[in-house]
Amino acid sequence: MEKSRREFLKDVGKLTAGAVTAVAVKPAVAGPQRHGGDAKHRWAMALDLRKCIGCQACTVSCSMENQPPIGQFRTIVSQYEVKNVDKPGKPVDFFMLPRLCNHCDNPPCIPVCPVQATYQQEDGVVLINNEICVGCGYCVQACPYDARFINEETQTADKCTFCYHRVSVGLLPACVESCVGGARVFGDVRNPNSEISKLLDEFDVKVLRPEMNTHPHNFYIGMDGRFEGKVQGEPPVWDIRNAAGKELEEL
């Protein structure tokens, strides 16, 4: 009797230890898990602003490739006219800033999705399963880069996929393929011999809005600090008609 009780207590002890280990091994707080893709790679893009001429070939080729509705874009080159304050006589400079989804390592769009339609692959690419997406727009709000939008045709969330359908068969994203100045360089940052890895080693690259701790994977070469975050400049002209609906003659 005495022995069996001792054995019983021993078993209880083992069981408790086992349970504690099981709990400890499991992550304490559940969160989105990466799935799909190959963890051998980590796809990323380098954007050499010194080479970008703002021709919008990337914008056009992206639209040809991915067919977003007219007026909606997965990538765009924002352009800024910058007065040269130090040299008043000098003509203004132009600053070209290609924008697209940053495929962040800590993407704020994913944990908000209420149906896990948007997810990150093992290779870092952030995708949307638009057959699950309910079009709630929560990820659009959460993205600090305004990279997402609700596609007017599919009525679901949409954004740059790094042209995953091309990358997965060994092709380059459409925007990279068409970039005339070679400003966009796409590749695997886990491969030390890739062109992008070499660029990241060579240059002091910057990312957009580093203070958001999203760890973006679009790396800019030749970035000016004034354009890293929300640009405090004069807004663009959105309307070419006045309040009465008449077309403005001169912009």
Binding site: V29, A30, G31, P32, G54, F73, I76, V77, S78, Q79, Y80, E81, V82, K83, V85, R99, P108, P111, V112, C113, P114, V115, Q116, A117, I132, C133, V134, G135, C136, G137, Y138, V140, Q141, A142, C143, P144, Y145, D146, R148, F149, I150, Q155, T156, L208, R209, M212, R226, G229, K230, V231, Q232, G233, E234, P235, P236, W238, D239
Partner: protein, 367 residues
């Protein structure tokens, strides 16, 4: 704004949360806080507040039903709403809300039913009532006990708190929008909700509640408390931004500074609150319609400003995104439609249910 930088080419992003979201947050905020207004009567058992309690209960039920419709309509794929229930996502506040919300709706309906139950029984016994069999079935028994009201009122209170928490957190966690990413916002929702719910009760008191002066005075007095809380919270929010204590509030102010539209909204909101406070304080009787309308308008305007104007602030670009108010279902029609639906629900509920508990007087002959 830096005059040395001019943005020449960029794209706009359209608002992903439509006016339907404004309607949802408006109606659910009022429903949740109307539950609080029912508590003195039905949880505290204070008969003095019975009339206010019944007006508030009607408000809570009607707004909760209308809110659900607005919420589903805000999805761009409303037919896929069931995905919320097949893809539960414990870490997303919206997913949590999808599970908390039906509980709230069911509890509010049960709560109202328990309050009306005895009267439903009396209605069934009234001579010449065509719907007598229906009322009898609804009353579920001849001698309904009222003791169940109190525990259910308490459960509904807990559920209402869960809705206030989820709706507040859902917006507050959006770090990318400095206007939303602040702990002041959930409290703003709660207090503007209280103001709005009191306003709806004041209007209902005038339209269907027999314009009871005692109720009007009580609600106007309550409005003072709600407004006081709202103004303190609003001033603290503003101060935290101006002083730079709160970085998001500071960034939010920075992105609006120098913009006439935002300045107008701020002055408008401030003036509305002050005018409302002064009327409710100096003349709490005979002003129910005015204070009610201003209160409802304030609660609605706050949500419109936070959601629609908030989405016009670009996260990367300069200035503001243009917003063209659509007249179709995604804009004006949706707003009118939601309010129409709410009026219809109120009409249906008050036509068939003994919501004001006045059955005994008219049906006295049967006893």
């Amino acid at each position: 704004m830096n005059p040395n930088i001019i943005e020449t080419i960029n794209i706009t992003r359209q608002a992903a949360w439509l006016p339907w979201a404004v309607q949802y947050f408006f109606l659910i905020g009022i429903s949740v806080t109307a539950v609080f207004l029912t508590l003195p009567a039905f949880l505290g058992g204070n008969a003095k507040y019975e009339k206010i309690g019944r007006l508030a209960l009607l408000t809570a039920v009607s707004c909760a039903i209308a809110a659900m419709i607005a919420l589903v309509a805000d999805l761009h794929q409303p037919g896929r709403f069931w995905h919320f229930y097949t893809h539960f996502t414990s870490w997303s506040w919206m997913s949590r809300g999808a599970f908390l919300l039906p509980f709230f709706l069911v509890l509010v309906v049960i709560y109202a039913w328990l309050v009306y139950r005895a009267d439903l029984g009396r209605l069934a016994r009234q001579p010449g009532t065509m719907l007598a069999p229906l009322y009898k079935a609804l009353a579920l028994g001849d001698k309904p006990e009222r003791w169940m009201v109190r525990p259910v009122a308490f459960l509904t209170l807990l559920s209402a708190c869960s809705i206030a928490l989820y709706t507040g957190m859902e917006v507050m966690v959006v770090k990318a929008r400095p206007l939303w990413h602040t702990p002041f916002l959930p409290w703003m929702y709660l207090f503007t909700g209280l103001v709005g719910a009191t306003g709806v009760c004041l209007l209902l008191n005038r339209v269907i509640g027999g314009n009871d002066r005692g109720v009007e005075r009580g609600l106007n007095r309550f409005l003072l408390i709600a407004l006081g809380l709202l103004m303190v919270n609003g001033v603290l929010w503003l101060a935290s931004g101006l002083s730079g204590v709160s970085a998001p509030a500071h960034r939010a102010l920075l992105s609006m500074s120098g913009n006439v539209q935002w300045l107008t909204v701020a002055v408008w909101a401030g003036l509305s609150a002050i005018v409302l406070f002064v009327i409710a304080w100096l003349k709490p009787e005979g002003t129910g319609v005015i204070t009610g309308l201003i209160a409802v308008h304030s609660a609605w305007m706050f949500r419109w400003t936070v959601f629609i104007n908030g989405q016009m602030l670009p996260k990367m670009g300069s200035g503001l995104y243009p917003y063209h108010f659509p007249v179709g279902p995604e804009g004006l029609l949706g707003i009118i439609g939601t309010f129409g639906l709410w009026v219809l629900i109120i009409a249906a509920l008050t036509a068939f249910l003994p919501w004001d508990g006045r059955v005994e007087a008219s049906g006295a002959a049967s006893h």
